[in-house]
Subunit: 192 residues, 2 copies
DNA sequence: GATTACGTGTGACAAAAGGCACAAAATGCG
DNA sequence: CGCATTTTGTGCCTTTTGTCACACGTAATC
């Protein structure tokens, strides 16, 4: 694992919202690096989520346990993604989901309050916040359409085309759960 | 149709983000009322989307035409919702979706640039923008889970529980498309 | 290095959903 | 009001997906 490197973070922020050097530094300083080993939990269901993370290396898996105790995978956050449990973050309710590293992983952690303070005092920081949410919302809308109007075969084909890295790095059973199909169905789609 | 009434709009804004009277007025003044008759298009696929709307009365349907020419319903915006085509709004690309009134409808329209100007000059307006996006993102995440991990029967039951008004007001074929199932499947679920 | 646990592929069957056809009901329009 | 058009419900059959069972290979453990 290479040493934490604020430059990657800074680049990701700049990419979302052109920001002055001063505001950029404010945002970067507000985040602390955190290293996770494979399968280590970054955030556990049951606790309120109080942070936003940025994945520099490795990846995170967000999942929820259903009534039967099976894991429902919500999504994966690969390198260069911003992750949080927005539901818990906004509602202050305990999280239903767990964030876990799928590989040795390096993230940057922002305490929620730190971000809110910045947003309230700096219009540039606020703009970054808006841009980040806008970007996430756009992705999430695409995600919804993906599940709303595609069947299992189309979903797998689409994922293979758009995110081949994800298909490589994640186990078949976790991918199947993410794709909303039975493990066996995905296994058959793969061998077809 | 009752006359346009800024108070409903003001209330919706306040509910998202506590805002001073001055900022609130700025936001309200920036929007213009617009009346639509049933089936009238508010925004057509092919044009870039340059506005954000708030639905005061009636409802909007967002749909896309697939390769076969069938309409894929993305979602419905009932009273008190904020609507736009975020993909087009952010990317400046022509829209793939059309927004159409499902009933005689009254909306408030914000030109995108007006909002951006406000966001750039007022930290309170920027906060409203962030709150709105956060709220929409939260809803959209729920929406994704809904399609990702629920089957047709669960989806219908859930919708009936959470949004009975929608089920009443929208035709079966449009609802089915929205729910990601065949018209016949929904028809059978209803009579079960 | 043998043993165990786990993840994955695959066959057989059951259940669910889709597609087509058509009749009944509702809606729109002159 | 009555005719035409659209929408909805339903039977029949096909296709797809899920479930269960088990074999195989790989990786973890002692």
């Amino acid at each position: 694992m290479t040493a934490p490197n604020t430059e990657i973070l800074a680049k990701a922020i700049q990419q979302l919202s052109a920001t002055s050097a001063a505001s950029l530094a404010q945002l970067c300083i507000a985040a602390a690096p955190r290293v996770l080993s494979k399968r280590e939990a970054l955030h556990r269901a049951g606790k309120p989520c109080e942070s936003v993370w940025f994945v520099e290396k490795g990846y995170l898996r967000a999942f929820q346990a259903d009534e039967a105790g099976r894991e429902l995978n919500h999504c994966f956050y690969l390198e260069n993604s911003f992750a949080t449990d927005l539901v818990s973050l906004r509602t202050h309710q305990p999280s239903v989901l767990t964030l876990q590293a799928g590989e040795p992983t390096l993230v940057w952690e922002w305490p929620k309050q730190r971000l809110l303070d910045l947003y309230a005092t700096s219009i540039e920081a606020a703009q970054f916040g808006r841009m980040l949410l806008g970007y996430l919302l756009l992705k999430q809308e695409r995600q919804t359409r993906f599940f709303q109007h595609y069947g299992p075969a189309e979903r797998y084909a689409h994922l293979l085309r758009e995110q081949p890295a994800l298909v490589q790095r994640v186990s078949v059973s976790q991918l199947a759960s993410y794709l909303g199909m039975a493990r066996e169905t995905l296994s058959r789609l793969r061998s077809a």
